[in-house]
């Protein structure tokens, strides 16, 4: 990146850069972390409210229509699974486990695939 005051252009259009699978797993690790961070306060409040009694539980259900609950559940299932698995992958690689390029690519693919499966499972559970 250019220093402040440097008027020279810098090519850094992320949509024109072909990212390897590890970079995609890494950026989604951050995205999922942000989603979980944002979701935590309303989820904690919702849990607290739902435990107060049957009436409050029903009131909470009526706050969010079923289709939105499924969408939200699917996104959060993906985010939680991806963040957990990518985090474990990251910790292992930090101590040299699975840090060879081939293994790192395979583990990145596995994280992406398992998180996607978790999302699909959550969506299926929500619809059934």
């Amino acid at each position: 990146m250019a220093k402040p005051g440097d008027s020279r252009p810098v090519f850094l259009d992320l949509f024109r850069i072909r990212f390897p699978i590890g970079a995609i797993a890494s950026i989604l690790h951050r995205v999922s972390g942000v989603l979980l961070f944002l979701a935590l306060p309303p989820l904690a409040l919702g849990l607290e409210m739902s435990l107060r009694g049957e009436a409050q539980f029903e009131a909470l259900r009526s706050l969010l229509p079923a289709p939105w609950r499924i969408v939200l559940g699917t996104i959060l299932a993906w985010a939680a699974t991806h963040h957990l698995l990518a985090g474990i992958r990251h910790l292992l690689m930090d101590v040299g486990v699975g840090s060879a390029l081939g293994t790192a690519r395979a583990s990145a693919r596995a994280v992406l695939a398992i998180a996607l499966l978790a999302a699909l499972f959550a969506a299926w559970r929500g619809l059934s």
């Binding site: 990146m1 220093k3 252009p9 810098v10 090519f11 850094l12 850069i17 590890g22 890494s26 060879a100």
Partner: protein, 231 residues
């Protein structure tokens, strides 16, 4: 062959633009650099660096179809068209595909990329066992092309503070050298939240190194050396 090349001329003050070219590769044109050299006979205003044309000098690093690489090592066969060429990401552009590498080399110099050996010099050379010499394999071959650092998100966002994969690989090359006596000082310098620990093990560096090296592995070894030292 169709190409789309990033153009920027500082003298005009115009914004950078992509320019389309179409040129036929001729017999003997095997690598992307061959085609660029041919293209320059048609348009001599196109600016790019090149020197050895065989992957040793590291001059012709650029972003080729979204990935960093050396034009002289990139085979024309199998390249998706149009071949989109842009300057190394994150580096200030001087002109067309030529970038300013001042910051990159400042980091390189900061890690003292030379042997520091205290004590009296031996009468003959400083000997190493074959095993000690083998520890430098995969480290000394770096040609400082900057493909790795210019593909590292951590370096994009903190180019002034994070040494970057290339500089850290070079730093480990001297830490791993049995003849070097400044390991403690080298580790002291690297033990910093930005200089070393800004690496997030994304491994883009290892993905694009045109020499097949693994800067991420060198960074991992530095971390382990620091951990062992502190325990």
């Amino acid at each position: 062959m169709k190409l789309s090349i990033y153009r920027f001329n500082p003298e005009t003050g115009d914004r950078p633009r992509m320019q389309a070219y179409e040129i036929e590769a001729e017999a003997g044109d095997k690598k992307l650099l061959d085609l660029l050299m041919r293209l320059r006979t048609v348009d001599d205003s196109l600016a790019f660096r090149r020197s050895c044309r065989e992957g040793v000098c590291g001059s012709d690093a650029m972003n080729i179809n979204g990935r960093n690489g050396l034009a002289c090592l990139t085979a024309l066969d199998g390249l998706a068209e149009p071949v989109v060429l842009r300057p190394l990401p994150g580096f200030p552009v001087i002109r067309d595909l030529i970038v300013d590498m001042t910051q990159f080399f400042a980091h390189y110099h900061s890690i003292k990329p030379y042997l520091i050996a205290d004590g009296p010099p031996p009468e003959r050379e400083r000997l190493q066992t074959p095993e000690q010499r083998a520890r430098l394999d995969g480290l000394y071959e770096c040609i400082l092309c900057a493909c790795c650092s210019a593909f590292c998100p951590s370096y994009w966002w903190n180019p002034d503070k994070f040494i970057g994969p290339s500089g850290l690989l070079q730093a480990y090359r001297f830490i791993a050298d049995s003849r070097d006596t400044a390991t403690a000082e080298r580790l002291d310098y690297l033990d910093d939240v930005y200089r070393l620990y800004r690496c997030r093990t994304i491994m883009n560096c290892t993905e694009v190194c045109p020499k097949g090296l693994s800067p991420s592995h060198a960074i991992e070894r530095i971390r382990l050396a620091l951990l062992q030292r502190s325990s």
